[in-house]
Subunit: 278 residues, 3 copies
């Protein structure tokens, strides 16, 4: 195997809810380097909401696709650590995914195409302290082994037994579509569960729509770039995420709409004859 190929095969992406204020992320990396000195770890984020598996699954789903083929995706949001939930590794078409079997890995892995699933043999991975840090003691070492081409201690299981999870389906109504906000980013962009390839046929670039949250209603233009509307105005975009987003040019849509992850929004067509006040 050539150097280039080896390099490409040794990337580990890393996503958790550990935060960066504690030494936990560093400890996992230290353990991984102890297992295999040749890996490269790329942090996706460690700011998943604490123990929010859905949130973690969504951020992993957004980001996994940009990594080079052969990347091992290590993801840990694990409120059930130490209980009977399994530790798993999933081989997909282009990647490996390693983490707890609680749905976290499923949306990304199933989209990429699950080939094989494995249950990690916990007895083979010693814990330092109690059963509270499988990221460092189990998942990290397994991810490092996979990235380096070693064989972790695990046994194949039926892919159908893997815990499933989905982001909810947008609900099409008479004149609009009801979507769920799955993530609010630093810029206040509200990222919804409506994928670009599922946009209603009546949503056309340049048109203006109404966006309703609980108690608020604004008008937003469907645009390709923030700069297409005046600063302070709402817009709808297919953001860099590939999902419909609600934004404010040079502003903070989430704050203005009072929206948080989990909130619902309704996007509606203009009434016939309505005047665009946007």
């Amino acid at each position: 195997m050539g150097e280039g190929a080896a390099g490409a095969a040794r990337v580990v992406s890393f996503l958790t809810d550990y935060g960066l204020d504690d030494p936990y992320v560093g400890e996992v990396k230290a353990r991984m380097l102890s297992v295999c000195g040749e890996i490269r770890v790329i942090d996706v984020t460690h700011s998943v909401e604490r123990q929010n598996v859905l949130h973690g699954a969504f951020l992993l789903y957004l980001s996994y696709r940009f990594f080079p083929e052969g990347t091992v995706h290590l993801a840990v949001v694990d409120p059930g650590v130490g209980t009977e939930r399994r530790c798993i590794a999933i081989r997909t078409r282009r990647y490996w995914f390693v983490g707890p079997d609680n749905g976290l890995l499923y949306p990304a892995a199933s989209e990429d195409g699950i080939l094989r699933c494995y249950e990690i043999d916990l007895d083979a991975y010693p814990r330092y302290g109690g059963e509270t840090f499988h990221g460092r003691d189990v998942f990290g070492p397994v991810a490092a082994e996979l990235a380096c081409g070693a064989s972790p201690k695990m046994r194949e299981v039926d892919p159908e037994t893997v815990q499933k999870l989905d982001f909810g389906r947008p609900v099409v109504t008479d004149r609009g579509v009801r979507v769920r906000v799955l993530h609010v980013d630093r810029f206040g962009n509200c990222i919804t569960n409506l994928r670009a390839d599922e946009l209603p046929s009546w949503m056309r670039y340049g048109d203006t729509f109404s966006v309703r949250s609980a108690g608020k209603e604004v008008r937003a233009r469907f645009a390709r770039a923030y700069g297409e509307v005046q600063p302070g105005k709402f817009l709808l975009t297919v953001g860099g995420t590939g999902f419909l987003e609600v934004s404010v040019s040079m502003g903070d849509a989430a704050r203005q709409l009072g929206v948080r992850p989990g909130s619902e929004l309704v996007v509606e067509q203009n009434e016939v004859g309505s005047v665009d006040r946007g």
Copy 2:
């Protein structure tokens, strides 16, 4: 080219206003690694104030000089993403700079010495989603190509057409100098736009000066180290940044002075015969 030289040439420095809570920084790195598996990315900071180009330009200016020759500086603070602002790469004496043509790169690049400028050919870099994430879809891949010695799709342009930006000049008055705070760091140090090599001749180490913000006035000793004054006392230093800073030993000068980035401060000599109450 030897291994060492190659290693030195493949560093990418990375500065944005993306924050670390979203997967954006990870996605850019993932794309870069997909373009070139051999690069090393060093984060400068991703906490530039949202869409504050001046702030980003200053932090880039402070830090770029410490990187090894050949480093590609990737910087993205880009409120105009998707509009007609250009995507550029600048070759300087020791480095490359890649980012939006909105002034962000100018102070650092011009200080290092601009040799050539290029406009990136947007058609050559596919966007995933809309025109909202050129960091991942355009700038990152171009930076990775440059770091690896590949040839990005771009055409040379007149360096004079690059958007300029400066940090404002300190204003010398009768008895003092009026400076602008460009950054407040974690320790509450207020970093001003007065460079060490432009200090007034009357500023001598060991002397005490008055420092005025809007509505507050304190006395501060010009010192080489925080420990030269008592805990809780104000001091002036030429900090690790190479600019004049206002600090409090073991305290938070910004909070005590009510100062934020953009605030003005006046540093004045003692009146003749004044008693040093510091």
Copy 3:
């Protein structure tokens, strides 16, 4: 020397109180890469409380052990920077430690076994700006030199002269033990100074104990995993840190107890005949 060995020998762990919002961490890494292009830097954390040497020493102590042999641990929490406190490097059984001689390195280094100590020759390391950023100007370059097998400018000193520091001893009382909280993590876990190998003989897994903070008293089960108690219930664990922790399953123990780093807690046995209301 084989590739693997070289790789393993060139890891630098990095812990500071610099935060990630300023360019300081990036500048130190840039300087290190300029000294030696082959090192790998792993961030432990940069969120040590500002200028809190005890807090930094504890986080270093928790994490250093997970790094591969030969790692250079670079740690900087340095309120005395620029004063007469020494800059030191310590050779231990498995590692190097580099930082200020203020106790920060001592608990980790002494546990690993101090072999030799060195005082860094400040004259050999030029400062950019004043005497305020030895992390970038002195410690970083020395750590990089050590990681690459170069010889920093330093002279051997008596290990007995190194500044000592300890985390305080738990105090055993009639019916319990008084411990100090040394760190509160993102999940609200309160990590104490009671080590797993020093647990009182009366603490047995599955039993329930009383935990008192100033003004609050709760009952907590001594468990191996968070999931062993109901969500919202307190528990005691030997966490991933190897120290006794007080936690709430799916909750935030520090907030509920009103506890911060430095707070004291008392863990007591049940009274004979008491009814477990936990």
